[in-house]
Symmetry: C2
Subunit: 454 residues, 2 copies
């Protein structure tokens, strides 16, 4: 990083001081000199009085630009609008990119929303209302309506005029979309195409067709995949008539990718790693249902062990190694789960290939189990001077690991079949279920070999 | 998706058929009509004969463009160069963006590399050799050297001339970098800035300074964070003298983000989810060391249980619930690990705040443990008609969960302190260690309460 970055903290102190001292001009100079991202970082650290002054010292346009870069949760940001005069709030909203404004306004009270939008020009207000209807996590919810559109019968010269005119408002001017009657999406070209061709060339001779586009109801994860694969900077969004209604920019897609990967990680870990409440009571409360659920599920292990209590009473050596078997199988099963869930999330799944995956995981489980079982049998046999017990333990370990791997694949696959996102299966679920299968397998084998063991 | 996407499979069949029938012209027409990403997708499905024909039918420039979009692992792609005539390979390499070519050439035999580079123009060959020295996962390794640079005393008009000239080669023309003597990075402006200003304006009046930039040895994850925060499309890379030596584009950053998030997920799961060998023997082999290691670590549980064997012999009821305690504590500990590792990876860690996190996790553990312990005590007490046992079990559960949470925070924190990436701590490690602490806590408590229990 260049040195500008080193002094972020100092600048924040300086800027807060200027607000406290009510130095409007000096504040404007220092604050507006920063990148909007840095402005936003400082803004969210201000107290209420400081924010009130900031609204007085900055224009709604300046605040709107900065609000585009705020990274707080939208449900928190919406509160800032309530602090502003209504007209000011409306103007801030109008200045923001529609997709960003909509994200936040989705959390506004209906009454507040109406009052803000009353101060937004009619057309923009309608657009915002319309976008508020798109379902969360679809293309419609993350698209922006500020794009550059031209028609195929224009020349490069006139297209460049349009680009220059739109350059101040459009979120990107680097892709230019070609539309025909009723806004139907017809082609696309890049600003690079415009700059490298003569002024008199017709757009129709230059544009790329057909255009890759996404439908407004498409899942945001699919949109991200397309942008990732094709290295696009933006992707047009159409409605059900192929009418161009917006574009999705690569910076919004980066947020989607982060969000999706945090969800996968959180799902597997069984805890929301992005929004951990700092308050331990809340944290405990949010984890409790799941912990209790697994505890109840784990009761099955107690039922099984109680069932074989007489055996243990006769020979307590039997119980010494039970924790090792359960632990090893649980670990193996969660590994399989990770592999299987990842495969299902990346949609590479066609039933046939997933069948192969299951088979491969079970085989891998048998092999890992065979090797660890052998080691285990020797250690246990030598330690307890009982190689038959060692054999039973080794066999139980092998079968438990293979079963755990099977469970690790089957559970997410089954959920995926019935339409539940397989990435929400936590490793802990597989570990708990495999605890149950492991004790059943172990004591089942003990039962079988019992006559030779005692 | 528009309909073009529906028929990917058909087009692939058609294109392969054209290669088989040796229809060079028809092949060129159909193939070059596709997006390079789609070209690459088809290319990697071709067999050796088909590829040999493709090299004959396409120019090195066309193949180079397509190679920029190949998503296979670089160690696999490097083999394709060996199939080409040396001169052809050199020309393909020359046509590719330097960062992509370098990624692949990092896996070439030194001798092959020399022969390819012999056919690349001197300057470009030197650049490639230089970039091959940058360490993996640093800014230098992912940067591209195709950027647009101008000087501050140029006008907008002459800057636009430069942009137009460079437009065919540069990876992005949307950011234009301003350099002074000896390539020192001085400022930046966007193509948007150029287009929205009069032709006679001086660049020095227009450019943004200071420029956010990254040093060539900076970690790629940090670069990704900056691009993400500031919504940049590209970021300049400088060497230790602030000399501009390359840029990193947002599409390369998306790959970095994917890579890093897959690594975090894999680390936590204890298995590489991106590169799972299809062959179960290889899969088993890669998982075996870790599985055996944890099995040996788990031996500690057996040692503890054996130590208390006499107690179990006296009253086998004691052992019925042991699996439930270990399971619940292991699950809680891996949740804490996920939260802690995420916090450490996102570098929000300042020692003080991480101390707070540990405290919060232990508190959350005590609270979850208290609630589940209560439920557990009632179930176990009622079932076994022994409420004192229930009390001991509940207490053990509570302490085990809190201990597991503490371990889940301390282990990644400790590794982070000694410079080991905390995202590589698998949940299975915490689960296994917490198995040990759980049996110790449980039997310790049994020992304490023994006189009243029997």
């Amino acid at each position: 990083m260049v040195e500008t970055n080193m002094t972020t903290h100092d600048r924040e102190i300086e800027i807060k001081a200027l607000l406290t001292k009510q130095k409007a001009t000096a504040f404007r100079e220092a604050y507006l000199d920063l990148h909007v991202y840095e402005q936003a970082q400082i803004f969210v650290d201000l107290d209420k009085t400081q924010r009130a002054r900031l609204y007085r010292y900055l224009t709604p346009e300046e605040v709107g630009d900065m609000f585009n870069a705020i990274e707080e949760e939208p449900q928190d940001v919406v509160g800032y609008f309530k602090e502003m005069p209504l007209k000011y709030a409306g103007e801030v909203i109008y200045e923001m990119y529609t997709d960003n404004a909509v994200d936040i306004l989705a959390y506004a009270d209906p009454q507040d929303l109406n009052e803000y939008l009353h101060h937004v020009p009619q057309e923009a207000a309608n657009e915002i209302r319309e976008m508020l209807h798109y379902e969360d996590k679809t293309a419609g919810a993350i698209m922006s309506t500020e794009y550059v559109a031209i028609t195929a019968n224009q020349t490069v010269r006139s297209a460049l005029q349009v680009v220059k005119k739109e350059a101040l408002d459009a979120e990107t001017i680097y892709y230019i979309y070609v539309i025909e009657d009723e806004n139907k999406l017809q082609g696309v070209l890049t600003l690079r195409d415009l700059l490298t061709n003569d002024d008199d060339v017709l757009i129709s001779d230059l544009m790329n067709t057909p255009v890759m586009s996404v439908r407004v109801d498409e899942d945001q994860a699919e949109v991200a995949q397309t942008i990732r694969d094709y290295n696009f900077l933006a992707l047009p969004v159409t409605d059900f008539d192929d009418t161009l209604i917006g574009i999705i920019n690569v910076d919004d897609i980066i947020d989607v990718i982060d969000e999706e990967s945090a969800e996968d990680y959180s799902g597997f870990a069984g805890v929301d790693v992005e929004n951990t409440p700092a308050n331990p009571f809340r944290a405990a409360w949010s984890r409790l249902p799941w912990s209790l659920g697994l505890l109840i599920l784990g009761l099955a292990t107690a039922v099984v062990i109680e069932h074989y209590q007489a055996l243990i009473q006769d020979d307590s050596t039997l119980i010494i190694f039970i924790a090792m078997i359960m632990g090893a199988a649980g670990n193996a099963g969660t590994q399989s789960l990770a592999v299987a869930a990842r495969r299902l999330t990346n949609k590479e799944d066609e039933s046939e290939s997933f069948g192969k995956l299951i088979l491969a995981e079970v085989w891998a489980g048998l092999l890992v189990g065979l090797a660890s079982g052998l080691v285990f049998a020797l250690i246990a046999g030598w330690w307890q001077h009982n190689y038959l017990l060692g054999l039973v333990l080794g066999l139980a370990l092998m079968l438990s690991i293979a079963t755990a791997n099977l469970l690790g694949c089957l559970v997410p696959w089954g959920l995926d079949r019935i339409g539940i996102d397989s990435s929400v299966v936590p490793g802990a679920l597989i570990a708990t279920v495999s605890d149950v299968s492991s004790v059943i397998l172990y004591f089942g084998l003990v039962q079988v070999f019992l006559r030779w063991m005692v």
